[in-house]
Symmetry: C2
Subunit: 458 residues, 2 copies
Amino acid sequence: MISEGALAELATVLGDRVSTADSIRNLHGRDESSWPAAPPDAVAFPTSAVEVSALLRICSAHAIPVVPWGIGSSLEGQALPINGGLVVDTARMNRVIEVNDADLDARVQPGVTKNQLNALLADRGLFFAVDPGADATIGGMAASGASGTMTVRYGTIRENVLALEVVLADGQIVRTGSRARKSAAGYDLTHLLLGSEGTLGVITEIVVRLHGIPEETAAAVVCFPSVRAAVDAAITVVQSGIGVARCELLDANTVRCVNAFQGRSFKEVPTLFLEFHGSPAAVADQIEAVTAIVTDHDGSDLRFATRAEERGALWKARHDVYFAQVGSRPGSRSVTTDACVPVSRLADCIEQTVADMGDLAVPAPIVGHVADGNFHCAVLVLPDDEAELAAAKAFSARLAHRAIEMGGTCTGEHGVGLGKRAFLEPQFGASGVALMRTIKGALDPAGIMNPGKILLPN
Amino acid sequence: MISEGALAELATVLGDRVSTADSIRNLHGRDESSWPAAPPDAVAFPTSAVEVSALLRICSAHAIPVVPWGIGSSLEGQALPINGGLVVDTARMNRVIEVNDADLDARVQPGVTKNQLNALLADRGLFFAVDPGADATIGGMAASGASGTMTVRYGTIRENVLALEVVLADGQIVRTGSRARKSAAGYDLTHLLLGSEGTLGVITEIVVRLHGIPEETAAAVVCFPSVRAAVDAAITVVQSGIGVARCELLDANTVRCVNAFQGRSFKEVPTLFLEFHGSPAAVADQIEAVTAIVTDHDGSDLRFATRAEERGALWKARHDVYFAQVGSRPGSRSVTTDACVPVSRLADCIEQTVADMGDLAVPAPIVGHVADGNFHCAVLVLPDDEAELAAAKAFSARLAHRAIEMGGTCTGEHGVGLGKRAFLEPQFGASGVALMRTIKGALDPAGIMNPGKILLPN
């Protein structure tokens, strides 16, 4: 609970932009994960780093938990205020501060969403290339280490952020980098904060890299007789150094969900969605090379989409996969797995995982950023059915261990939050987790920053 | 000084692989910087992380400074044991442990050099793409945040390392990542250690990303009437999204040094060295686009080199620039600047810097990774001439401040070491430096790890 005195102090900073209304609190007690709701005691809507700093000084003084909030699209419970306290919602910090066309970068506030930024950039011939499923905020993406469909070509958020402004637990405002394309100046504070899920500070500004909209873009859909054939084709594409921009696997179950959700008529077999970016000659070159590879791997029904509307429809189908999956079982929520393995192990990992689905007794359609070695099973459980939920979590745990044993990671892009905490020790060893605890203890000695996330309670 | 007792303890771990011989100590008291020699008290040659761990436990117990050592090619005094203590030379940890062709990665010990790794990879059609001037060790490159000529296409060492094994000050051995191409699992320990210059731990293993040797490679040399014209051409190439693999500027003075050093006959004007990688069609495409751009910027004498021998000779000329520069003034050493700015400011920054050379009274030829916004002036001083050295350091300081004011960094790739410590506060503010001190204090509370580097003594 936040004391009346502390609330009054917060109100002196924010006026009516701090709320304890049930409706507001409840909106900030749920994310897109299957974790139970956990409303905060209050929600603040700051408009500047200076206000965030003032809030954090008050919360430090009163030992109030602080949970940064973007748009609530986290998938592992990162944004859930499980210990109550104050949610810092960045919705009113949603300005694109500057776009530097010549340097291919932009400085944005954390509440700017990916689609908002890209809409503004389109007229300038630029785009921001980190593309998770949700229209997440840039701040949330930076905090959770997001990636998405274009990682194979453009990298994750980690390769697309040049610098951050962050407010630490004690209220200090820190600028972590510069607008130079590279730097060897001191400890890499930017990457320490990226993916720290609000446990080390609140991100109040982000300098992102931009890319020129390619002269030519082409998309393709290709069907395969098996998931292994599709994955092998995708991996061969990557290994060949063809600069494919997107390479997404949908298994037959997921295609079925998409057809039902969107009234589409994709053939219900393992399918790759591909995209190619570049000059017309480069795209033609990529298409020729990829066509040869997919044909070698028994790909069929290869169809190209070059017009913007066709491509838009295709990628809308891909971006809606999550909702199509959840919509395929009324009342369900998804326990979404997020294993990522070296690409040479991906087909094995998916096959063993499919074999392991027998126990689930619920659907678990698969979608994957297969060129990165990353795939997601959406285990569709009825949230009130404890047996289903327990089976889903056990399945997810087995998959996390399988990925780690294969030299991979328990989470490729969704982050740790509440759901992956137990797998850090198998992945990093006791010494690795101890080092993370040392860092957390040094930056947030009172433990007020998003407590209970990433690291299990001692 | 290391006590006799501590030396005896070190010898129980390493036998005769710990030395106090003057010849060995003196070899480990100099790097490629202009900082004065500072030999250590002893030098250890461990062969494994377990041995490094044992060494660090002993050094922790006796408060002995520990300085990791690759090949001594650091340019800012990073490897100089200014407080004495123990140098940990990784020369005997020089095995390539595994190469995973299918995953495009390799696991190497820190003493493996860039050329050693690439020689081994060539037969497999793979290469490691971080290409600094010296044949540095991979461990040294990881510790110093190195980059080099191919950054514009393939990234710095930071984008080419998947995971590290590191021994912390207390002897704990930590694995920081996995072989997955991406991960969102906890704090980014890998990037915290990359570029930490031995001040947080000793790197004992590196998982590096590899790339396929491109089907086609072409190089080009093109002359310009001015540095500004050359820089503007380079920046237009970058902004156009043409995937140029290398884009290096040599000013007229540097070309003159190269001609003298190698008996070449390059035209002594501002010159770009370029390289293109890809399929034959993609390279042809890049060449066509770049030719149009350089012609627009008054480029002339454009010559292509496609045969491997021609290209080799060209890039040997580029890689020898440092030695050609130093060789142009007998007895000199170079105070090498390393500013990196947003590319839109690069031409201004170089022009203002050239204007500022008036006071130097010594040569300062320029070479630059201009597509990254990074350039180096080699200020050639006679190391015993204190007036020259002072003028060079003052010039370098003015340039560092100029770069920071332009939104850039005091060091693009050489690191902080001793030479750039004073510029971290102008660049990151007091709060940023305080955060770096907090991290250092948490990971190395006794301050034994490469003391005096990155952070100024309190």
